[in-house]
């Protein structure tokens, strides 16, 4: 799942060398700010075939937040 997410991060932030970990947050990626946040979310939704609620999107601040929400969806 993390590899899949990494592929999305690399596409959105146009950086093929980008490596993410669960501790990666918006502070670690220069390209990740309010201007690109929803673009990232839309790509993740397409990749994983899920939809996030507005409240969930507002809480995402790190890779761990996103992974946790996707995992919860899989369980459901």
């Amino acid at each position: 799942m993390k590899e899949q997410l990494q592929k999305v991060f690399r596409t959105v932030f146009e950086d093929n060398s980008l490596i993410i970990s669960s501790t990666t947050s918006a502070k670690d990626i220069k390209m990740w700010d309010s201007l690109t946040h929803l673009q990232l979310i839309a790509e993740i939704e397409d990749e994983f075939k899920i939809k996030f609620s507005f409240e969930e999107v507002m809480m995402f601040n790190s890779v761990a937040d996103i992974l946790k929400t996707i995992e919860n969806r899989d369980v459901q």
């Binding site: 932030f13 950086d15 201007l35 690109t36 673009q39 979310i41």
Partner: protein
């Protein structure tokens, strides 16, 4: 009665002392009473408008959970209040009505003190309740305090419900908070009276009187206006936060050394933070979330909608529309070139890139502020034309020094020199100055130095209002 008037200090001394000695359970009532007195002394119409709007929002909030119509109606009501207020203050239209023998009119100055700010707070509160993020407040006194709390009534900061309500029941005010609050108040007074008010004459001579100065003079005035606005508004915010602290409240920070920003998007994360947080949460993100399948086009639309609304919130008119448009263009450019700029920053010297970026961002902000400050669109265009043509005046003394160094009816280079010297010192060492304020050993020295600087270099009885008081 504004924060830098002698009568306000007497009022503040009484309120802080009584609040400190009052049992916790009575403090909110006392502060509501003090806030009503503060607003009522400004003008009675302001107090009536606040009472009417905050009561209406308080009662309608109980209905918005179950009924979408009430939510839309209440938000529309607050938006209309802001638009009406802006319409009257923009076109100076008289608006009066009579109840029995009492006549109320807006001719005096503005229809309602702080309306644009507390209406945003009302919208935030109604939205939080509607979307289940908080339960409606059950104590109307607490709600009146949220809307009217006098340290933030003039020009914010805009406090979201979750940032304010938990503080109402706070039990203790420590001596340390009183001292820190007083220090912050002094810092704000220093910024306003020593720096911002000394720049008024220079800015005014180019923006309000002669429009045909040389390019270098016009550009210097545009620079000085941005600096004046920063010191005026951040000075006001320091005072608001300091007063809030002395009364046991932590109000939201509004500025984080914004003139050091290396991009316009960074600038908007560091300038008027409380307002932009509101717009980001309640306008930008909902718009972009709805349109997210369109990717970058969604973000571009979000930027345009947010800044056009922000321009209207400041004032309805072509000048503020152009100001907003400038920022839409800047931010759209930044979004579309972000990857390229990140790569560039990694290739060249980091320090050089930062300095260059700060210079560019400062100039872009100053350019947009020509529209913010100019009294009309025509005047703004004339100033822009002046800035790019006939750059150096024939006579530097009469064409450059004299208009910027005005003091009464004579040239006062000393005034300009002192303003610029103190301004540059504060800009360079702002973070260190804030650190000194926190040091227990240097507290007394900090207070004494600020008091001395205000006494010696402060502009007294200038009558200069806070710039953001008009919004």
């Amino acid at each position: 009665m504004t924060f830098n008037s002698p009568s306000f200090f007497l009022f503040l001394f009484i309120v802080v002392t009584v609040n400190y000695l009052t049992p916790t359970s009575f403090r909110s009532k006392l502060l509501v009473f003090a806030s009503f007195v503060f607003i009522g002394l400004y003008n009675f119409e302001s107090l009536l408008t606040l009472l009417f709007l905050s009561s209406l929002n308080y009662y309608l909030a109980k209905k918005v959970v179950a009924n979408r119509f009430f939510y839309v109606f209440t938000v529309a009501l607050n938006v209309c209040a802001i638009l009406l207020f802006n319409h009257f203050s923009t076109f100076n239209t008289g608006f009066g009505f009579s109840v029995f023998s009492a006549h109320f009119s807006t001719d005096k100055f503005f229809i309602a003190l702080g309306l644009s700010f507390y209406s945003l707070q009302n919208i935030a509160y109604i939205s939080e309740v509607r979307f289940g993020r908080m339960i409606p407040e059950t104590n109307i006194i607490n709600y009146f305090l949220y809307c009217s709390f006098f340290p933030k009534i003039i020009s914010g900061p805009v406090m979201l419900p979750a940032e304010f309500f938990p503080q109402v029941e706070k039990t203790t005010i420590t001596a340390s908070e009183l001292i820190m609050g007083f220090q912050r108040l002094l810092l704000g007074l220093f910024k306003k009276m020593v720096i911002a008010d000394r720049l008024v004459a220079a800015v005014s001579s180019v923006f309000d009187f002669n429009s045909d100065y040389a390019g270098i003079t016009t550009i210097a005035a545009a620079y000085l206006f941005t600096l004046q606005m920063y010191f005026d508004f951040s000075g006001y915010t320091d005072m608001a936060l300091g007063i809030g602290k002395m009364l046991g409240y932590n109000l939201k920070e509004n500025f984080d050394t914004p003139l050091r920003s290396t991009s316009v998007s960074e600038f908007w994360r560091r300038w008027h933070i409380s307002l932009i947080s509101f717009f980001t949460k309640y306008i930008y993100y909902p718009v972009v979330y709805k349109l997210r399948e369109y990717r970058k086009a969604a973000a571009l639309t979000g930027i345009a909608v947010t800044f056009i609304i922000s321009g209207w919130w400041h004032r309805i008119g072509l000048t503020f529309f152009c100001w907003a448009l400038c920022h839409v263009v800047y931010l759209s450019f930044e979004l579309l070139t972000k990857r390229w700029r990140v790569k560039l920053s990694e290739k060249i010297n980091k320090r050089l890139y930062q300095l260059f970026s700060v210079f560019i961002v400062f100039n872009l902000v100053c350019f947009s502020n020509i529209f913010f400050r100019a009294e009309s669109f025509e005047k703004a265009i004339r100033l822009v034309k002046n800035a790019v043509g006939n750059f150096i005046p024939k006579n530097m003394l009469s064409g450059f020094v004299a208009p910027l160094a005005q003091g009464g009816h004579q040239i006062d280079e000393f005034n300009l020199f002192i303003s610029i010297f103190l301004m540059v010192t504060v800009l360079l060492f702002e973070r260190k100055i804030n650190l000194v304020a926190k040091s227990a050993h240097l507290r007394i020295a900090y207070v004494v130095i600020l008091l001395l600087l205000i006494m010696v270099f402060g502009v007294f009885n200038s009558g200069a209002r806070f710039i953001y008081m008009q919004f």
